[in-house]
Symmetry: C2
Subunit: 348 residues, 2 copies
Amino acid sequence: MSGETRPARASMKEVADRAGVAMSSVSRVLSGHPDVSPTMRERVMAVVAEIGYQPDLLAQSLRRRATRSVGFVVGDIANPLLAQIVQGAERTLRDSGYSMLLTNSENLPERDAAHVRLFEQRRVDGLMLSLAAEDHEETIAVLRQFDTPAVLVDRDLPPELNASAVLSDHRSGMRAAVEHLLDLGHRRIGIILGQPMRPSRERRAGVEEAFASRGLPATYVVVEGLLATEHGRNGTRQLLDADEPPTAIVAAGNQLLIGTLEELRARGVAVGADVSLVSCDAIDVTELYDPPIAVVRRDTREIGRQAAKLLLERVGEDDPGARTVVLPTTFVPRASCAPPPAGASLSS
Amino acid sequence: MSGETRPARASMKEVADRAGVAMSSVSRVLSGHPDVSPTMRERVMAVVAEIGYQPDLLAQSLRRRATRSVGFVVGDIANPLLAQIVQGAERTLRDSGYSMLLTNSENLPERDAAHVRLFEQRRVDGLMLSLAAEDHEETIAVLRQFDTPAVLVDRDLPPELNASAVLSDHRSGMRAAVEHLLDLGHRRIGIILGQPMRPSRERRAGVEEAFASRGLPATYVVVEGLLATEHGRNGTRQLLDADEPPTAIVAAGNQLLIGTLEELRARGVAVGADVSLVSCDAIDVTELYDPPIAVVRRDTREIGRQAAKLLLERVGEDDPGARTVVLPTTFVPRASCAPPPAGASLSS
């Protein structure tokens, strides 16, 4: 110590001794654990400030791999659904003493790969993945290279990656929505889908099943594109400009819905009168629009909670291996769905 | 190498040699730099996969503090405004080869402190701070303890922290909005504000200035609370249940607006007819509501870009010190603002 040029580094033990508390209490205060009394926090932080203690988790994590942190590769944090999933996951993780770090890929698959690598370099204990693509080779190569436990959020990846998954039963919700439209008399139904990943595949299957269940020919039209407002607008334009435009539209994603509503408003097409409308996922607009918009709903916070639980069971001592949980969706009919305008449904 | 138990670790030089490219190219590919050709990326990644190279940024960062990463302490990622600010900042940072890591405080000040500490332990090169409070002692103590360059997003912190800041001129936009309401004949105006931080203080000052500019007594009512939907609902309830309810309401935050709209709808109060309404910040609902809702608007992506620029100039060799940039807000009048119902404006 004496003649060295390096400054002496206070230890966590020193903090515990001076504060007259256990080492584990110091650790809990510094990791932001929720079950710490204000008095304990104050006591520990006073000593930390006094002696200038700097915990060096990085150096620790080089010795034992346990940073008690989880990395969430988020496809698009501007998507309110993902914000709710993040919230649900974060609360569950925090209750177990884990912090969550996020990245934002803006739905660009090459960023997913870079973000997985970034988290690996930061030695997170686990990964949550809401990837921008299911078949991006670089992302899959990076995931294969590392052995960090991972949970997929609504994505199908090759099983050899050994990732757990929380999936939504999009198929049932979509089937119920389309059956409702068919029962109202709609036959030409336009479906605006996002990227060709699991949610889109399942929703498409739900549409097929609905027509089959009513013994009807498949008179629906699907337009597929990026899960973004612009595709909602362009898809709606494409559907309405067709020779036989649909009498009902399903926007299979909340950002698609915003684009659809913008286009309908620009054309003066009245929702629930000129055209029926269903949104996949509830957002503020679906509740506050006049008329309120029918939705295929899911419990996003529960998705986050389940994803966190699946991850926590794998970062412990006894990793039980990959597990998949499927959560339900529910169709909520509303005034945005009505019988087609007189005559419109008969021509198809 | 030979008899050691530790596995041999491939070096970045080995990757560069085998791929026949420069070390800097390998580095750019691995950091996800945007200016890398697909051919170069493929070539490097093929070698990385072949020899199982794992860059160890953490070990590097223990030698030289430069992880080329920035930590953004986000108050609430469910707030779409913050998602846009993040997007603006992230693009600018990425162009300079920096990654962004996010945390979500859910507007709880004690989480801010834990998140700053988490980022410090992860050795980020810089911090962006959209804090949940300006006067939380633990957060200020943690920031004082570390010397990482920081940029505040719309917050006032003690100047000795030497943080740069991007601020919005909320005052001018709010003043213009209230002057518009006064000119329409409103006198009793209800203002629903968020937490007592810089944005709320500036907005309150704008309201005062508007009444003063028209030589009118201060007949407005302010309800202050958490920047969340629930306060929007409760605040609206409180305002409308008063003996002399306001004829116009300003919801000073997009989450407050959602609560206000929910309460108005529940009571059957028509926006733009029974009560005039102004939102601070544009969101999907303000554009798609019928009638469209007047907004005090700001360029959120520009806020993010400026914050990133302020941070980048401080993480380089020559830190020019703290700098503050103030960006404008603009009031956009719309059909949600109309003269008060006959008689209503005269009784006050």
